[in-house]
Amino acid sequence: MSPPSHQHGADVLTDGRADRTPVQGDQPLLSVQDLSVEFGLRGQKRVRAVDSVSFDIRPGEHVGLVGESGSGKSVTSLAIMGLLPRRGAHVSGRITYEGRDLLTASRAEMSQLRGNDIAMVFQDPMTSLNPVVPIGTQLAEVVTRHRRLSKSEARDRAGDLLARVGIPDPRRRLKEYPHQLSGGMRQRVLIAIALACEPRLLIADEPTTALDVTIQAQVLEVLKELVAETEAALLMITHDLGVVAGLCDRVNVMYSGRIVESTTRSVLFGEPRHPYTGGLLRSIPRLDAPRGEPLVAIPGSPTNTLPWTQGCAFAPRCAHVQDDCRTDPPALLEHGPRMLRCHHPLDGSDGPTPGGGSAGARPTAAGVADESAYRRPTEEDA
């Protein structure tokens, strides 16, 4: 799980699987370039949900896409899957998977790819399973869709998959219907379904948001293990930086449809530079915070934005806002080890991140970040 090891992971992956197209070490598995998605029917005013978003995912790499509701992260994932409604959604830019352009791929090509090469875990396990079909059938269905397997082979595979996601007594569970399982169990089933054909890229769209906290940890652990086992690349979409801290090599922070900060996990948690990232980090309760210390919230709501064409969308909520933020749209520029879209980032120095190593990678932000670097923005605020 240590961040610099994805290079090595990629080699293992390509060596281990001759049936897959071999990928050069540094070539991205999925490349999103300048992706924009606008909604609006003909004659209506268009709303830009995703605005010139670019990022790469290398084989086996775990990438986080972080942002609040409405920041465009789920729309990005649906655009990658080609699942946006054909009417009313206007997608531009390029999404390439192993060199193939997904936006121009035919419907048949896309449905070959979906579930087999790229799979997705959805947010709400209560509604993402077909309520009238036993889960075993739903699992076997995916396997037979993409692999040449007999019915009984598919059934066996379904049982194995259930066992791998930690569902006890899988053979018997195969016959059960979704309403007979708890939320955590259902999410495990969905993870099993998504990983049934050993996809090379798994998109997890807030997979733990609908679950309660103790189950969240279990489900994340299952997801993490299986992704590691199948050597799939992971695009983790979440608003929870705690999830990212335990899982992702790289993190892209989105705000109002644009990426505002993009860097490796250790850099981001060690030293958030965008005021929005800083605000997100400070809003996570920390184990080492003094008792009774109030959580710091980002003021305002995500609907209170400035259009990116006029300035920085985060300006109305930003504690560090200055005049040029409201008049001059910031560009995504390279700041040392990161890409940053901010005129007045937090903290000047971009030296080596102290203590932000991978050794202490625990699924809380607190476990990863260096305390002093972490809290500096708080003091500036106060």
């Binding site: 899957m81 054909r86 009417r87 579930g115 399973l129 993409h146």
Partner: protein
């Protein structure tokens, strides 16, 4: 999920008590279990059972033949013989045994009711799947097919169902097939609209998106994911429509558009024949009337109970 504590406890007991191989209960099986506990479902089912048995075994339950007028000699313009040792329910105006007529009338109602509902269900469901399936998967073509089909259905719906049945029965000849088609056609819009709307609603659910994300083709998603989830209300409606169809057969007969052989025992026609003598002999109208009401009640009770038991809110 369930706010009530005791019901959660019941569930736990239920799971322990049920043998392992039966634990994979489907929604339909669960619905059946709730149905068995519902008194009105049992009454409805009992009425339906009696109705079907009577229709099938009518010849065994009487020693007379229907519509023969064999006792016409006993009928005078002023009086129709009432119940007697030989004729339990008396004679009808045509001089046939009333009991026999009623038994054989059940046959007509069953055949016409079930056949016409099947016709309506098949045609309506086909249109509904067409519109709902294309509508649910979206796209320009899908929307166009949906709109086109539904406008045709709307035209059908804009005509009152009995009027539609009357017109069709009047246009095509008055044989039994025509009556079945006439009553069935009047039911088409109900089924089509019902199925379409529940398919559209299902089409927006997460599992349909998830199925898309797993690479299933649109047709597969519509037929094996959306349709099974959407068909429930339609099946319930079919049960309820059996009652309506039975009534409409009677109504058509009453309007003189029923089976064209006047001797065929049919409850609606029996009502017509009794009309002129209603003051003197209400029995002639009341008996077939009771048959119609009780049969329709049986179907309605059962249909309503079925709808309740499939209602997601009554699911645990």
């Amino acid at each position: 999920m369930t706010p009530a504590g005791p019901s959660a406890g019941d569930d736990a007991l239920d799971l322990v008590a049920t043998p392992a191989d039966e634990r994979g209960t489907s929604l339909w099986r669960g619905a059946f279990r709730r149905l068995r506990r519902n008194p009105s479902a049992i009454i409805g089912a009992a009425i339906m059972l009696v109705f079907v048995l009577v229709a099938i075994f009518a010849p065994l339950l009487t020693s007379f033949r229907p519509g023969t007028g064999e006792f016409f000699g006993q009928v005078t313009p002023s009086s129709v013989p009432g119940p007697s040792q030989e004729h339990w329910l008396g004679l009808d105006t045509g001089g046939s045994d009333m009991w026999t007529q009623l038994l054989y009338g059940a046959r007509q109602s069953l055949v016409y009711g079930v056949a016409s509902t099947l016709v309506g269900l098949t045609a309506g469901a086909a249109l509904g799947v067409l519109a709902g399936g294309f509508g649910a998967v979206g796209g320009r073509v899908g929307g166009w097919v949906d709109t086109a089909v539904m406008r045709v259905v709307d035209i059908l719906l804009s005509i009152p169902s009995l009027l539609l049945a009357v017109s069709i029965a009047a246009i095509i000849t008055q044989d039994s097939l025509a009556i079945i088609i006439a009553i069935g056609a009047a039911q088409v819009p109900i089924f089509a609209r019902l199925l379409r709307s529940s398919m559209l609603a299902q089409g927006k659910s997460d599992y349909v998106l998830a199925a898309g994300a797993l690479g299933f083709r649109k047709r597969r998603i519509v037929m094996s994911h959306i349709l099974p989830n959407a068909i429930g209300p339609t099946i319930v409606q079919a049960t309820l429509n059996l009652a309506t169809a039975t009534l409409e057969v009677a109504a058509l007969s009453y309007l003189g558009l029923g089976p064209d052989d006047p001797r065929v025992a049919e409850w609606g026609r029996m009502l017509v024949n009794a009309q002129s003598r209603f003051d003197a002999d209400p029995r002639l109208a009341i008996l077939p009337g009771i048959c119609i009401v009780v049969t329709a009640l049986g179907f309605t009770l059962f249909g309503e109970a079925l709808r309740e038991s499939l209602d997601p809110r009554s699911r645990r």
